[in-house]
Point group: C2
């Protein structure tokens, strides 16, 4: 089936399912999704069944959006929103997402934005066409999240074009015949650092993680393996979580010819670019040449297609991806690949934590079907026994108490993303319960920003 | 080091080691070996130490040959041999090997060829320049062995050229830096049939076996894997033994672009071409298209560099190969690869038998160094218990006795190479010891020829 066939098929199905008086203005691919533009978005909103029927018949993800002509220009819309919402709501930000026709309103008192029975929101929607979404302003503003949002707004048109290209590549025709599934270990197997693996079929190539081994001069995974090269032949890049041993060389891929999408969770996108920019900074500080510069990091952000846990999406003509919570850090995920139509299922665990932590639920360990599981095994050796979270907390509180009591200062060198936040939670709780004396806690800038990203999600 | 550097280095060392009155006429690469041509071959024959010294200083295999001007034309030489050797020796064949300057004399009474204290041989050598070698005429003449010998004689010049090309490729310069070793399973792992694996380093590619899965329409290993293609990029093809599940698609490689050498034991070369020609015949008989034709089989023979057990040779700039007995069938071998200078050692067992059989010694299981062993595991499952050779013999004798006693005929469908010969040995011994009645044994043509090859080696 060519792309044109799929689209004309989609038109036929839509015509058949949707009542005649509903005006459809366009149908197109956007990333892995078929997008239907309509002037009567309310009809679809009233009957969820319409979308379900179309999706089932086409066996594809469907999104219905208001025709752009229905949406007020964002400057006008922003003015209307500020006029309509009472000042007591204390709006801190308004973000338009052209891709979805949604507008996110960030406020200190979100209830006031919604209004009684949603009256205020409904009024806004009627006036501006955009679908309003309300979120509470996070307690710590994140520079990273703000900058990424702003950046994505400036490249809206390019991104629309990029998503269409991805969509068309996904819908390319696949020759019939025997398929196969192959997983190549490119780095991070029997070592910590430079995690990378290639999942390939006869038709498709997916790179899973692209980390860096920081301790080495050339800490790159074996990206020059013949089945990886050229980078432009890779369909999709999947990042399980933001730590640099899994994401550190992602921007370098764009420097050396990769042009495709990155699939990761929304927090992974933000944390990863924070850490990558820091990686460049550290290299400059040590007068080393960095493997990439900030323009490559921006390109990675521009090409990211964020996926929430549990959302299934096509990432290649014969591969579907679903992320599940991995319990390791914010946004960390197990990548589940469904290959062919029922041919094979592979899960790459990424880094996992199978214990409820102070921040996250334990890793998901139930999958509808799974033929191969690649499981992280760091600290999994016979003699690798780590103290329980309870014991570790007792220990750190004891140390802090002893050091503070003799007038000392406690230095806690931990990773900025994940560990820092856990340590802060323990110390905060201990101070609140008077288990340790109150004392100021100073944070490294990276930790502050990483924590801000945590509060944003 | 370029090839020219190596050769000029060789000239320097030879000049330094060899006495001045010895006339050296040429030094060149031939396959993995440096060949020294001299007009005073007797000096080297008298002092083994000369060759050893040169080989040690150059760290390469050295062969010394008489300058071609010293060798009589083969027609003249053959006449001289027949005149010099007494008729009672009953010569059955005379084979010249230009590559080595040797002439093999096959006779029913080899002692008469040698003469008292080697007098006849010495006389021949003095008269014709060639180094004579004597073998007893095998009890069953093998058409295959004869034809291959004749064929190789007709392509002598091309082959000389081919060996030089291989030699120059082997001596190519290798860039410094980190090397790696990679083994890709291409077929025959978790299945019987289409055995193939690729051993690759940063510099070199070696294909180990190239079998066919006869039961399948497309019984090829995954030769289209990106690290295999193009076939012309492969340095060497190593065949562990002649059965078609390890050698069946070798000629097809030459059809699709491979031009390099095959390394295998001498009997493997002969048995393999016998089985490959039969493979074509069977395909034609079933009106199927064969994956190759007899011209490809001839090309494979032409490109074979035979190696005896225990002979170590360079097969790529950073890989050395040594075959060891695998005990499975005639010529079957374990391929031991020494990679880099002390970097890594890999042994591919091929099919093995770790029990003394009626035909062969058990597989070698001692290696000076080994980091990775890939071991055949057919019949290695927990429930795979095979009868001992003694029990199997008792059983077949019992069956034969019962069937013959009631006037029946026994049909024994076994593989032509290996099993047939073992069954024949059991039946022959049983008849000789009157454990079963004497009866004629009829052989399929393939078995006859395979047995003839056995007696030739």
């Amino acid at each position: 089936m060519t792309i044109e066939d799929i689209l004309s098929d989609a038109k036929r199905v839509v015509k058949q399912v949707v009542p005649d008086h509903v005006e459809i203005t366009a149908i197109d691919f956007e990333g892995p999704t078929i997008v239907i533009y309509t002037k009567n978005i309310e009809i679809f909103a009233e009957s969820n069944d319409l979308v379900r029927q179309i999706a089932q018949q086409l066996r594809r993800r469907i999104i219905v959006r208001p025709d752009p002509s229905l949406l007020s220009p964002s400057e006008d819309a922003e003015r209307v929103i500020r006029e309509t919402i009472p000042a007591e709501a204390q709006i801190t930000g308004i973000f338009f997402e052209t891709e979805t026709g949604e507008v996110t309103i960030e406020a200190l008192a979100p209830g006031m934005v919604i209004g009684r029975h949603g009256a205020v929101l409904n009024e806004i929607k009627k006036k501006i066409g955009w679908a309003p979404k309300v979120v509470r302003t996070p307690p710590i503003p994140s520079k990273t999240v703000d900058e990424i949002r702003q950046y994505l707004r400036t490249i809206q048109d390019d991104r629309q074009q990029f998503l269409k290209t991805v969509g068309r590549k996904l819908a390319r025709e696949v020759p019939a015949g025997e398929n196969y599934v192959r997983l190549t270990a490119l780095g991070g197997f029997r070592q910590v650092g430079r995690s990378a693996a290639l999942l390939s079929t006869r038709e498709s190539k997916v790179l899973i993680d692209c980390g860096v081994l920081i301790s080495e001069d050339n800490g790159s995974p074996y990206l020059n393996a013949p089945e990886v090269m050229p980078l432009s032949s890779i369909d999709a890049l999947v990042i399980t979580h933001a730590h640099l041993d899994h994401s550190g060389l992602v921007p370098a891929l764009y420097k050396y010819g990769y042009e495709g999408p990155i699939y990761c969770t929304p927090p992974t996108r933000d944390l990863m670019s924070l850490l990558q920019l820091d990686f460049i900074k550290v290299a400059m500080g040590e007068a080393r040449k960095s493997a990439y510069d900030s323009s490559n990091v921006r390109r990675a952000v521009a090409n990211t297609i964020p996926l929430k846990y549990g959302e299934t999406t096509d990432i290649a003509p014969d591969i579907r991806l679903t992320f599940q919570n991995a319990g390791h850090i914010l946004g960390s995920s197990i990548a589940h690949f469904h290959i062919g139509d029922g041919l094979y299922n592979v899960a790459m665990s990424g880094d996992i934590k199978f214990e409820k932590t102070w921040l996250f639920n334990p890793a998901v360990n139930k999958f509808p079907r799974l033929e191969t599981l690649v499981l992280e095994s760091t600290y999994g050796g016979y003699h690798d026994v780590q103290p329980s979270r309870h014991d570790a907390a007792v220990q750190i509180k004891d140390v802090v108490r002893r050091v503070l009591s003799r007038g000392g200062k406690v230095l806690v060198p931990v990773f900025a993303v994940g560990r820092s936040q856990e340590v802060m939670l323990v110390l905060e709780e201990a101070m609140r319960n008077r288990q340790i004396p109150e004392a100021p806690i100073y944070l490294d800038g990276m930790i502050w920003e990483a924590t801000a990203i945590h509060t944003a999600y």
